[in-house]
Amino acid sequence: MLEQIEGSKAMAKVIGLCRPQVVCAYPITPQTHIVEGLGELVRTGDVQNCEFINVESEFAALSVAIGASAAGARAYTATASQGLLFMAEAVYNAAGLGLPIVMTLGNRAIGAPINIWNDHSDAMALRESGWLQLFAETNQEAADLHIIAFRLAEQLSVPVMVCVDGFILTHAMERIDIPDQAMVDKYLPPYEPVQVLDPEDPISIGAMVGPDAFTEVRYLQYYKQQTSFRLIEELSREFKREFGRESGGLLRNYEMADVETVVVAMGSVNGTIKDVIDEMRSEGLSIGLVSLVTFRPFPTRALQQALTQAKDVIVIDKSLDTGMGGPLASNIALALRDLAHAPKMHSVIVGLGGRPVTKAALHRVFRQAMIQPWEGSHFLDLNDRVIAREIHRRGKARRSGPAAENILKILESEREAAIIPTETRP
């Protein structure tokens, strides 16, 4: 049924339709409305047979989910940013134990400096934790991906993270099609664990594993992910058959027929990018988009197929590995390496800590990539003047003070200078 609804509330409804049995809640912006919504659905009885547990930390949230999942219940939690890092040890643990927990990540920057707005730093920080990571482009997809995620997680016995851009999606009111219970039930059968704590059939889970077997245990995790690409595509096709719309899968091509320049990006920024591509194409430029849905496992083959004809590939990263550059760009570079005619790659870092990604800026940078490519990472809309002033200031004194506060002071002084006319200044 179509509803005009906030992204988080829509996700809560759809997660409720997935019949979670244990939901662990801990507040952190911007995922909070999702667990609040679920709590409300449990309280009103719209979601039945579900334990809604208010925990004391994210570490506990995922740990409760781990216990519940190992004991045979469908378990769900949500977090973001600092919360994901706070539970990091349990994130790896859930994957290592092969527990099919589904977790929503309301993507948000990681401090310091503390920042509550959107980027992908949190998801990227734990990209090697063994979870599958799916990125939603729209709120409809954010809701839909949860249905796919439970199915995928349980089929593989691997945890799945549904990555949803904080605020941009979680807090946006949109028209969203909320499926009915029967449709979800048809797509998502009840949870049948591959391992379970059961007094009737006692097993030990979580034993110490030494050098004689650790590699094999890890290899199996790798193997499982490397062989899941077809399943991920099949589940997306089946979803389309049942629900009548496209969601999930490995990646989606947009205007990709015979294009020379291809943009690759994840998440909601693809909406803006599509508009820019439409405009550039109407001007006769040959540009298309690959919207990457599945980041882990990384669909190397599918990307190679999509990018094989391209001359230039522009990779949009909403996070930064400060010792390396854009994580998505690093991954794509590896995929391109093996192509016969490897395209040139241009890495762009955008939207850190919630900085708006404007059409104007994208127009500029896409054109620049075609005519005047750069080395390394390009930072979209970087305030070079402020950077220069701060670097200059630091050079003058050893005790130059905290960087974040200094940048804010410089910005403030620039704002004041802009407001107060020069002649009235003392």
Partner: protein, 336 residues
């Protein structure tokens, strides 16, 4: 007064109730042929390990109390490591280890799963060492208490991080030497005025049941587990389990040390329900702490060159304070 307290058939030289002297119903779980042997032989604990002994008694008692319908969650630590050198496991029951600091929370999840999957009769215990309980797992433990989740948490208190080679925890007593409180320097060993006694903090959560127990009195230990298992909600039992390796003690002194910890007053044995102490295990005659300290190399620096360190008197003062605070001394016969 519970059944156990009426028994006074102590065997000579021990505080263990002589099984053969009591009626069948009061005999301990380990004495029965149908004990579950949940933590079975072949594990890799050191000789004389108090933790292995405590866990065997505790879990078998919990198994009996639950009609063998029990799931255990284990924190990282000696107990976890020495019981599961996979493909061997000593656990003859569903058992899970996740992390060092999350056993209480994982157990909460298991208990929740039992309710939603229609198995309300299946009970859950969580267990960990003092480090996994009083330090790194304390947040999860307090959360589990505060929510009154249906979990019995058992802490095997050997007063240090033993699995990693004997480091100080918040349960390490003052003056004890560990790898991180070395015996050298001006103030040797662990300092005074630090550490915490989590049973008291558990009582402050006003949960249904809190108890301390000891491997020196296994009958009492079993009785407390059995009692805890008869209740629902959050329950906590901290068991004093000497560690020959970490304490620098002879393997054959494990029970003796556990007993001395009680009789000196250093480890008070009590029960509390819903925030109030309901029962205290009395000491017949208080033993000076020296007798306890002298048996352990972790306190050896207190007795260097035949001279007694003044800090022994401060240890005695701690024991005396416990005796007064919990009323540990048995009243003299005939006194009002």
């Amino acid at each position: 007064m519970n059944e156990m307290q009426k028994l006074k058939f102590y065997q000579k030289g021990t505080l263990t109730v002589g099984n053969r002297l009591v009626d069948e119903a009061s005999r301990n779980v380990q004495a029965s042929l149908d004990r579950s042997n949940s933590l079975t032989c072949g594990h890799r604990a050191c000789q004389g390990c108090g933790e292995a002994l405590g866990a065997r008694y505790a879990i078998d008692a919990a198994m009996r109390a639950s009609n063998r319908n029990l799931i255990a969650v284990n924190a990282t630590g000696c107990l976890e490591v020495f019981t599961t050198p996979y493909p061997e496991t000593s656990w003859q029951m569903p058992w899970m280890h996740s992390l060092f600091g999350n056993a209480a929370a994982v157990a909460t999840g298991v208990a929740a799963a039992m309710r939603v999957t229609g198995k309300p009769a299946t009970r859950v215990v969580a267990q960990g060492g003092d480090g996994g309980t009083t330090d790194i797992g304390f947040g999860c433990l307090s959360g589990m208490f505060e929510r009154n989740d249906d979990v019995l948490y058992i802490c095997y208190d050997n007063e240090g991080y033993m699995n990693t080679g004997v480091q100080r925890s918040s349960a390490t007593p003052p003056t004890a030497r560990t790898a991180t409180t070395p015996p050298l320097g001006k103030e040797t060993g662990n300092v005074f005025g630090t550490g915490k006694f989590v049973p008291k903090i558990a009582v402050a959560h006003e949960i249904p049941y809190v108890a301390t127990a000891s491997v020196a009195d296994l009958h009492d230990l079993e009785a407390k587990i059995t009692k805890a298992m008869s209740m629902h909600g959050a329950r906590y039992i901290q068991i004093n389990v000497p560690c020959p390796l970490g304490w620098g003690a002879a393997s054959h002194d494990t029970i003796r040390l556990a007993r001395l910890a009680i009789e000196t007053g250093l480890f008070p044995i009590f029960e509390a329900e819903h925030g109030r102490i309901t029962h205290v295990r009395k000491i017949r005659s208080q033993v000076p702490v020296v007798e306890y300290l002298k048996l352990q190399r972790r306190f050896a620096h207190l007795f260097k060159g035949g001279v007694e360190d003044p800090r022994v008197a401060r240890m005695q003062a701690i024991a005396d304070r416990h005796i007064a605070e919990y009323g540990l001394l048995e009243p003299v016969a005939g006194a009002a």
